[in-house]
Symmetry: C2
Subunit: 242 residues, 2 copies
């Protein structure tokens, strides 16, 4: 059975303007690989209602899971929750359980919830909360869409909460063989290897290390015996091209 697939939709003008270096997609990629869910697309869009709605509907129709990052805070530029409700065609309002999480977290800082903060307890109808230790403001899951914070530490905590609830696939094993020759030198045998072992993916990544032009070859697949066989063939190739 093929692995479940996923996409991440990052919402944020600050990434597109070059102000912020996006970090959550990279974290998600590593975590999904670990549990055997294949990340198939990363998409970053601006804080624009129509664009977010269209991207959500395109991605949720074509992937097992969609994760979103960003736009769920208390300010005017936090428009993700509304866009998700619009994409699913459901209502959105402050919900009691979300308000309680928020109140508890804010009471722990000796404060009471303001009207602006209460915006963070607005949850689309039918969604399940994603609660986390770091922030009183919950994320939520609706259908196959998991809506999470853009602040990296909170994104990490929310993903840790939601990932164990998803059906896992077969983890993809990854092994790397380092060649100290340029990739053109090994391109022909790599193509042959990739053709002969179609259940593996064989990636070739050139690097420079001082004066050395080298190539990292990465073999990925779900079957350990095949990955081992490919690595053995690559090591033999490395001995031959020296």
């Amino acid at each position: 059975m093929p692995n479940p697939t996923a996409a991440i939709l990052v919402i944020g003008d600050e990434v597109l303007s070059g102000r912020t270096r996006e970090a959550n997609a990279y974290h998600l990629a590593g975590e999904l690989t670990r549990v055997g869910i294949d990340l198939r697309e990363i998409r970053v869009v601006p804080d624009d209602h129509r664009v977010i709605v269209d991207a959500l509907n395109a991605l949720r129709a074509t992937h097992t899971h969609v994760f979103t990052s960003g736009g769920i805070g208390p300010t005017h530029d936090d428009i993700t929750a509304n866009a998700v409700a619009a994409a699913f065609g459901v209502g959105i309002d402050v919900r009691d359980d979300a308000r309680e999480h928020l109140q508890q977290a804010i009471a722990a800082r000796g404060q009471t919830v303001t009207a602006e903060q209460l915006r963070m307890a607005r949850i689309p109808d039918g969604a399940a909360l994603i609660v986390n230790e770091l922030s009183g403001a919950p994320g939520f899951s609706i259908g196959n869409v998991h809506v999470m914070a853009g602040v990296p530490s909170i994104f990490v905590a929310m993903l840790a909460a939601v990932l164990p609830t998803l059906e896992a696939g077969t983890p993809r094993l990854s092994r790397e063989v380092r060649f100290e020759v340029g990739e053109s030198r090994i391109a022909a045998p790599l193509r042959e290897l990739a053709d002969q072992m179609p259940r593996l993916s064989v990636g070739s990544y050139p690097f420079r290390d001082g004066d050395v032009r080298g190539t990292n070859v990465v073999v990925r697949g779900t079957e350990a015996a095949l990955v081992d066989e490919a690595v053995a063939r690559l090591e033999a190739l490395r001995a031959a091209v020296g």
Copy 2:
């Protein structure tokens, strides 16, 4: 006149698997902001011909420019040039001018061009070369699509070659005001500011710095007087909430 828009399509299994932290989109974002081209989408897709063709056709129809990163080397997993030719419905073959660039660079290393390396001189019909100092393998522009290397140093060199040839827009000015209060405390006046100054974008980004919960407010726009006015209002707000 609105600014030109752009998208970047990053092609690479290695980004989606979490092996590689993508760097070219961040560099592009900063450079485009500097020249007044609005980056509106970042999309990362796997090494999959059909997916690349469909993404290219979607993005080039809706943006002034599309930049691609990755997949133009000499190995079997370098399939971007073929996908670009397919997206435009044109042929692709080794081209004399591209071969000459390649031969010169490889001759400078005391070697001759192999059949595998010659793959990097395959250029879709009608494209213009993007030559660069770092690599003999050229990128190329066809229509509104600019095809560049994934290796970050070469991507940077190719972008430096192609960017001055594109029509620039009005650079977007960006100013940041740092508040040492959480964003909920200033959410209401920020919304008011954003409503009253619709030609600016006002972004609110929470941070923690040790025990301090703070908020960076970023004002962006093409009109210096408006940006200055917004910053003055934010500084007055900061003095008030101090």
